[in-house]
C-alpha cells in the first residue's frame, strides 16, 4: 500500500470512527435521556443523525473514487525518515510539555520545551539555546501576566515571577 493510499484509508477510517461514535451515542445516551426521537423541539438527535448519514454517503463515494484511482493525494511527496522523526519528536515533546504543564508549572516546563525543540531543529550552541529558551519563556510570561492578567500554571511548587 502506498503512503498516499494509506493516508486516505486512515482519513476515511477516522470518519467511520466518527460515524460509529455518533450512532453509538444516539442509540445509548440519547435514548436514555429521551432526546433521540420526537418533534423538532425534543429530537436532539435529528441533526447529528442527518450529518452522519451525509458523512457515511460521502465516505462511500470517496472509497469508490479511491478504488477507481481518482485520488488527489497520489502526488504526495514522502518526507525522509529523519525528517519524519524530527517532526514526531517535536510532537512528542510538545505532548509531554502539555501534560506536565499544570503539575510542574509554566516556568519549569517551558524552558526545557523550547530548549529541546531548538535542539532537535539542529541548533547545538548551548549558550544560545539556554539564553533563547529563558528569554522567550520569560518574555511571553511577562506579556501575558502583566498586560493580559493571565495567571499561568504555577505548578505544585507555586513558582511565579513577582513582576
Amino acid at each position: 500500500m502506498t503512503a498516499s493510499r494509506f493516508l486516505s484509508v486512515l482519513a476515511l477510517g477516522f470518519f467511520v470512527a466518527v460515524i460509529i461514535a455518533v450512532v453509538w451515542q444516539i442509540e445509548t445516551n440519547f435514548k436514555e435521556q429521551g432526546i433521540a426521537s420526537g418533534g423538532p423541539y425534543d429530537n436532539a438527535a435529528s441533526f447529528p443523525r442527518a450529518v452522519v448519514f451525509l458523512i457515511g454517503f460521502l465516505v462511500l463515494i470517496q472509497c469508490a473514487l479511491d478504488f477507481i484511482g481518482t485520488n488527489s493525494s497520489s502526488k504526495l511527496k514522502i518526507p525522509a525518515r529523519s525528517d519524519l522523526m524530527r517532526a514526531g519528536i517535536m510532537l512528542f515533546i510538545f505532548a509531554v510539555y502539555l501534560s506536565v504543564l499544570e503539575t510542574i508549572g509554566y516556568h519549569l516546563a517551558t524552558i526545557p520545551m523550547i530548549f529541546s525543540i531548538m535542539w532537535i531543529c539542529g541548533m547545538r550552541n548551548l549558550t544560545l539555546l539556554i539564553c533563547t529558551a529563558v528569554f522567550v519563556s520569560t518574555s511571553f510570561a511577562f506579556v501575558f501576566e502583566v498586560f493580559l492578567n493571565v495567571v499561568l500554571p504555577l505548578g505544585i511548587w507555586t513558582i511565579f515571577i513577582p513582576w
Binding site: 423541539y41 436532539a44 447529528p48 525528517d83 517532526a87 502539555l98 517551558t110 501575558f144 493580559l148
Partner: protein, 495 residues
Amino acid sequence: MIIDFFSAGFDVFSSPLALILTFTGIIVGLVVGAMPGLGPLMGIILLLPVAIGLPAVAAMGFLIAIFVGGSCGGSISAILLRIPGTPLAAATLYDGFPLAQKGRASDAIGIAITSSAIGGLIGGIVLVFCAPILANFASNFAPPEYAMLAIMGLFAIVVISGGSVIKGLLAGSFGLIISTIGTDSFSTGLRFTFGSHNLLNGFHIVAVVVGLFAISEMTFQMLKRDLLEIPKVKVARPGLRTISMTLKHYVNLVRSSAIGTFFGAIPGAGGVISSFTSYAVAKASSKPGEKYGEGEEGGVVATESANNATVGGTLVPTLSLGIPGDASSAMLLGALLILGFIPGPAMFENNPDVVGGIFMVYLLSNVFLLIAGILATPLFVYVLRIPKVYLIPSILLLCSIGTFALQASVFDLQVMFAFGLIGLLFRAANYPLAPVVIGMILGPILEANFRRSLLISREGYWIFLDRPVSASLVTINALLILAMIYITIRRMRES
C-alpha cells in the same frame, strides 16, 4: 443611515486602545504575512485568545488589522525571496520578483503596499454602503432563510475553494458534528459529552482552530530542512514617491479592487482567486509595450489591490448575514460571537456602535497599512531573516499560553493537541481545513434555524419552498449540488 453607524461608533472607535491595537494589528499582520508558512489566518488564530479579552471594537480592530496587514505582507517575501508569504501573494511573484531583479525591489514593495491600501479602502467603501443594505434586506429573513443561507455558505466554500469536493464536504460535515457537542439549546439534553463536564459547552472554537491550523503547520514546518537557514535578503526602503507611481495605474487599481471586492463577497472565492483573476484581466487589457510577467508595475498593482479589496468584500456577508466568506472571516465571526455579538441584521439594529466601529477600524487599518507599510518595510525585511528554529518553539508556546488563557483550562490544551493531530491527518490526506471551521461556525446557525423552521411550519419541510427567498436559496443550493457533481465527474474523467 450610514452616517448613523459612523456617529454611533465614533466613541468606541476613537478610544486610544482601539487606535493603538489597530496600528499594532497592521504591524503584526505585515510580519505574519511576510513570513512564509504563516499568513493572516494564522495571525488571527494565534492572537484570537488575546483579542477576546478586550472591548469589542478594539478587539475587532486588532484582528481586522491583522487580516488587512497579513493580506499585504505576503508580497514582501514574494518580491524579495520569490516565496509568497501567503497564497494570496502568489500572483505577485509574476511581476514583483522580476522588478526586484531589475534592482527595483523598493519600488515593487512600495507599489504593493500602496495598491493594497487603496484596494482595501475601495473594498471598505463597498462594505460601508452594501453591508447595511444587505442587512436591511435580510431583516425580513426568518429561520427557513437562515437555514438555507447556512447551507449555501458551506456549499459555496466547498465548490469554489478548489480541491476535492467530496473531501471538502467531509471536512465541513466534521465541523457540523463538532458543533453539536454540548448541551442542546432546545431540549437541554447532553450530546456527546461522554460524562465530562468539560464538554457541557462543547469544544472552545479557538482551541480547535489553533490545533487544526497552527500545530499542524508547525509540524509540517519541522519536516523541512531549512530550520537553521538565514534567508539572504537585501534591505528595501520604499519611498513616498511609490504612491504617485501606483496612482498612475488608476484604471487598473479601480478595476482590480472591484474584482477583489466582488470575489470577496462570494463565500469561498477569496483573495487567491481574485488576485489571479485581476492579474489575468490586467494582462488582457494591457497597452502595447507593457510586458506582464517581466517586471511590469501594473501586475503588482492588479494582484495586490485585488487581494486586499477582498477583505472588505468578505466582511459584507460576514457582518450583514453572519455567513463567513472564508476561513479568516469565519474567525472574525467567531470572535464576534465570543465577544457576545451575533453578526446579522440584528447586530445592525441593536449594536450600531459596534458595526460603525468595525467600519471605521477597517478603513483606518488601510490608512495605517500605507503609513506603517512604507515606513517600516526595513523591519519586515529583518523579520524575514529570522530562522525557523526560533519561530517554531515560539509559535508553539504562543499557541499553548493563548489557548490556556481562554478559560485557564488544561482541557483546552488537550483539545488543541488532539485537533493538531486531526489537522495533521487532514493535511496529509489532502482534506481542506477551512470547511471544518466554517462547519463549526455555521453548524449551530443551521441546526437551530432548521429546527425552528420545522417548529413553526404546519406543512413540514414545505416551509422551505413556501417562502420566495427561502425557495430561491433552495434553488441556489440545488445548483451548487449540481456543480459539485459536475466538478467531481470532470475530475474523474481528467484523471
